[in-house]
Amino acid sequence: MTHDAPRLLPCGDTAFTIEFGSGIDARLSARVLALDAALAERALPGVLETVPTYRSLTVHLDPLRADPVELGRAVLALAGEPLPAVPTPRLWRIPVVYGGAFGIDLDAVAAHHGLTPEAVIARHSAPEYRVAMIGFLPGYAYLEGLDPGLALSRRPSPRPVTPAGTVSIGGAQALVASIAAPSGWHLLGRTPEKTFVPARDPVFLLRPGDRVRFVPTPAERWDALAAAAEAGEPVAELCEG
């Protein structure tokens, strides 16, 4: 759902959020990214960092250099203007090994939707996704663009550990996880690509606004791809333009 006009929500004295809506859709995400780009271009005094999410942009500020009330009003006014869409030239083709030990919930997700596991893989790897948000943990890429026919609310109880590289779905969201962590989402597969490597430049492979496609990959190729990723070689393919 999109609000008629963006809303300014206070987040204490060091941040505020400009909210465009409450749901997940491509138009909302595009407006968030457009405001993010417009703010970066203007370099307003006191703005420290911005965090784009599915439906909002949070602006972190230095209360010694900017008044949060005034800055909030200025950014809200900017958000109400027709802002140019942000070009998204980067497309990542990310290999994913689906099912089995790599995606332990694939069969259950298929059964829930009355689909075969192969059909779930086909539907999950068909769309072109967009990175709408990176958050929760470092490098966790939340994607917009999941086939609504796959949407499924989270598991009743989270698993204490899910591996790095997990590719999962929760509600209408799709996720590529960077590091091992607890998760209540449905695990469809895993990618050998490392999306977060502190010693690498860039540290984070994916950026908000990037486009993503999943490439179903046979389990037999996992070891070779994982070894390549471990050696610092990219196993996801970046296509520009």
Binding site: P10, G23, P63, I134, F136
Partner: protein
């Protein structure tokens, strides 16, 4: 080889923290840094360091430390903790020199949670993504991406600028007064009764309290008719999120950067250190202030940190050292007898 600080004994949590790792919120990485920035800056000033140099953060911890391969000027600030140098009481909030062969004992704090041990010149561990602060979930910074453990040897730098010891007035923990919040960003997702519960009732810090956040026990905060799930949006340090249980969680230095629970309010930045210094079992009440007041308090807090440097007093001589120990509550009958 330069000197090292040996953590001969350690109980409780300990990690290296500096001013924090900035600029990666949009990639999901929170800043880390000290849970009590005022006490952290005080410890650094006492040994002549820049205010944001890496220091050892002790969380409800006791420790014994020795220096190897040299001497080092140290200072402890924050949660009041008994200090002994070779068994003799020593005041906190003053610097002193730890020499090879001596042992420094830091007792578990009598009140509060976090104390900071600063060393002249800081702790020159490797900087990762612009910071030495440990972010435990991401295994970044600190000592090779982890917290400190008993037996660790922390690298020490060349001595810093001060050639004498200094003292500061102890920094009060300010634990009694309410924690001030600005309502929002999602206060409209709570019922009037839920908001009243949040602002009127007394909560208690639960055992689920760490550098990521403090979960509070107490009466459940009622959500509005819309329920308790939102499409995830960004969190800030101080976000008070309320999951389905109605039990609020205050997000802190190592927090998750986004979350799908509504946030009823945000602890003002000036009071983050005050809630961080409350230990499990201690009461927490909240009071709402407006954004203008929160901003004024943030500026006052920054001025307070900036003024620490001007409040330093040089100390020296054995008698003064013992007097300082007296201020910390140690017995000095022996000294009086000598007068």
């Amino acid at each position: 080889m330069s000197a090292r600080l040996h953590l001969a004994r350690l109980t409780g949590a300990a990690s290296l923290q500096d001013g924090g790792r900035r600029g990666y919120l949009r990639f999901g990485l929170s800043a880390s840094g000290p849970m009590d920035p005022l006490a952290f800056a005080a410890a650094n000033h006492l040994v002549g360091n820049p205010a944001d140099a890496a220091a050892l953060e002790l969380g409800l911890a006791g420790a014994s430390l020795r220096v190897e391969g040299g001497a080092v000027r140290l200072a402890l600030a924050g949660a009041p903790s008994g200090l002994r140098l070779d068994g003799e009481p020593l005041a906190a909030h003053r610097s002193f020199v730890l020499r090879e062969g001596s042992e420094l004992t830091v007792e578990r704090p009598r009140e509060g949670v976090f104390a900071y041990l600063a060393a002249a010149g800081g702790f020159p561990v490797g900087s990762v993504m612009g910071s030495r602060a440990l972010h435990q979930r991401a295994a970044l910074g600190g000592l090779e991406g982890r917290a400190c453990r008993e037996g660790d040897r922390l690298p020490l730098a060349a001595p810093a600028s001060y050639e004498a010891d200094h003292s500061l007035d102890p920094i009060p923990l300010e634990r009694a007064a309410p924690i001030r919040v600005v309502l929002g960003p999602q206060d409209d997702l709570f019922s009037q009764a839920g908001l009243a519960t949040f602002l009127a009732e007394t909560f208690t810090v639960s055992n689920r309290a760490d550098r990521m956040g403090y979960q509070l026990d107490g009466p459940a905060i009622a959500h509005g008719a819309g329920g308790f799930n939102i499409v995830s949006d960004a969190t800030v340090a101080g976000s008070v999120q309320v999951p389905g249980s109605g039990r609020p969680i205050v997000l802190l230095a190592d927090r998750q950067t986004t979350g799908g629970y509504p946030k009823i309010a945000t602890v003002i930045s000036a009071d983050l250190r005050r809630i961080a210094q409350r230990r499990p079992g201690e009461p927490v009440r909240f009071a709402s202030v407006d954004l203008a007041a929160a901003t004024r308090l943030a500026r006052e807090a920054a001025a307070r940190i900036a003024a620490l440097n001007t409040r330093l007093r040089p100390v020296g001589g054995e008698a003064e050292r013992l007097m300082a120990a007296n201020l910390a509550g140690a017995a000095v009958d022996a000294l009086r007898a000598e007068d």
